[in-house]
């Protein structure tokens, strides 16, 4: 049984991996995955606990996860590797020619753990709904999870999906909005205000929960609470407040670190702030 401290240690290593992967590739997105690292670690190690050695595309008989905001790939790959889907050595190939770790998640290279290509935003929730419906048709009582960005909510397809999931009672689905308040061009408020998300999701007919996404205890409890709300006729939404760049002081809450890689000096500084817990790849 993994303790909260164990999960925190894993999240710390994931954060180191993110910095090192993006630095190693001289490209990528450090800010978002640093903010969502705690969530992804909790989801895989404590909540879903899928079998990494028996990965199937269908995911029958286990919970499945979709990353709609595919630019968080560095963090997801690190979590998948530490969870056992593939060796952590492979993280060094991130974004490089011939790698299974594409800049944005892809199925074409056959990386275990990935069921859908993502990166062009706004598509993941629809896919998650389809997978949730397949589970219902198959009599599979496991759940489907989907992480979405907040800026991504500006894509209209999401609102088609919100309407559908509530209208068709897709209650084996937990969607999570990574609400860090910033996107490439700046704060959501300046780029395109999202308004009262809680009221909007409730008006669409979802069960809406909220949690702080950079505290492991709160994340684990929040996800367990969300599980409890499944099977009650409504899809479940968690508005998860996070900090972009969490763990690195000069990246914290700074939209300029959405898609910029740290140079050697910045990398050294960042790694000095994140404990190496499980060993660097």
């Amino acid at each position: 049984m993994l303790s909260i401290e164990d999960l925190e240690q894993t999240a710390s290593q994931v954060r180191r991996d993110i910095i090192r992967m993006v630095h190693g590739a001289s490209s990528g997105h450090p800010g978002g995955p640093l903010g969502s690292a705690d969530f992804l670690v909790a989801l895989y190690f404590k909540i879903m606990k899928p079998d990494p050695l028996q990965f199937t595309m269908d995911g029958t008989g286990e919970d499945v996860f979709f990353l709609s905001n595919g630019h968080l790939s560095a963090g997801w790959y690190s979590v998948l590797a530490h969870y056992g889907y593939f060796g952590t050595d492979e993280l060094a190939t991130f974004r490089k020619l011939g790698s299974r770790l594409q800049g944005h998640p892809a199925t074409a290279e056959g990386l275990p753990g990935i069921r859908m290509s993502s990166g062009s935003l706004g598509q993941g929730l629809s896919v998650a709904i389809g997978a949730a419906m397949a589970k219902k048709l198959n009599g599979d009582e496991h759940l489907v999870y989907c992480l979405m960005g907040d800026g991504e909510l500006q894509e209209g397809q999401n609102w088609e999906a919100f309407m559908f999931a509530a209208g068709k009672n897709i209650d084996n689905l937990i969607a999570v909005v990574d609400y860090n308040g910033v996107q490439i061009d700046g704060p959501n408020e300046k780029v395109m205000p999202l308004g009262d998300l809680e009221a909007k999701f409730e008006a669409f007919g979802w069960n809406v929960l909220s949690m702080y996404g950079n505290d492991m205890t709160e994340v684990v409890d929040g996800l367990k609470k969300a599980q409890w709300f499944t099977g009650q006729g409504k899809p479940v939404m968690i508005i998860m407040t996070t900090h972009m760049g969490f763990g690195v002081d000069f990246m914290l809450d700074n939209h300029e670190w959405h898609g910029v890689f740290p140079n050697d000096e910045q990398t050294e500084k960042a790694l000095g702030q994140i404990a190496e817990t499980l060993g660097d790849y």
Binding site: A106, M116, S117, G119, S120, L125, V127, M133, A134, E160
Partner: protein
Amino acid sequence: MTEYLNQGSKDTRSGFGEALLELGKQNPQVVALCADLTGSLKMEAFAKEFPDRFIQTGIAEANMIGIAAGLTIGGKIPFTGTFANFSTARVYDQIRQSVAYSNKNVKICASHAGLTLGEDGATHQNLEDIGMMKMLPNMTVINPCDFNQTKAATLAIASHPGPVYLRFGRPKWPNFTQAGQPFVIGKALLLNEGTDVSIFATGHMVWNALQACKILEEQGIRAEIIDIHTIKPLDEAAVLASVSKTGCVVTAEEHMRNGGLGDSVAQLLALRNPLPMEMVAVNDTFGESGKPEELLKKYGLDVPDIVSAALKVISRK
């Protein structure tokens, strides 16, 4: 020439609807999705018989494509149904990322393709869909010619793993191929042997090509008529074998010249065996409202257009 009789005109979309119902009975993994056009797509029978496996998405095509992609994760074989315009142009990036690049087993079934949609006009007359779909890696593109062939194609794609774009139409159209015919994806059908010109046609234009063939025969010209129901992958061997005999080519399709069947055949011939070629297709223009037959005439897709293209290309040999 080989005689082809119209067994009674029927719309190709009804061939799709009948086959979908059969598939529902044959294979419990088959599911169907529709974006508020169940009647137009002839999906009512499936929806009535298999309500649990029929998903009405409302007028939200992007969401429909994503849900279809997700349903494959869990082993379902989803068939989406809406008009050609809303099956392709409206949802191109959804198809590109969630279906084609992810190589999901989604069957995108599109009715009301081409000019013969008629009176609704250019907003709905998609003439670019074959081009858009054939450019996507992993995508198979099929445009059957009549009711019987559409039914056969629909049945066949269910057991073909991977993304498929199946295109059919709205109007009643001569039904002349065999009921219960075998359908082999990627295998062109030789309808009439000839020696003077190869006419490669797809969709509704196959019937027009056969009518043109009769007229040409009266003038002593023996046209070879080949039904290219699968535009991608193109039956290259069949095309090359035919042109090596005839030495010139006409293509006929209810689609834009750019990106259509003619474009695929031209690419093949340019690389392998350059020969005189004419294309019967819409030439870089949108359509308009009108009756199907009026539109085919105005936009150069009528039987006489195929005849004159054949005479012209023969003169260029």
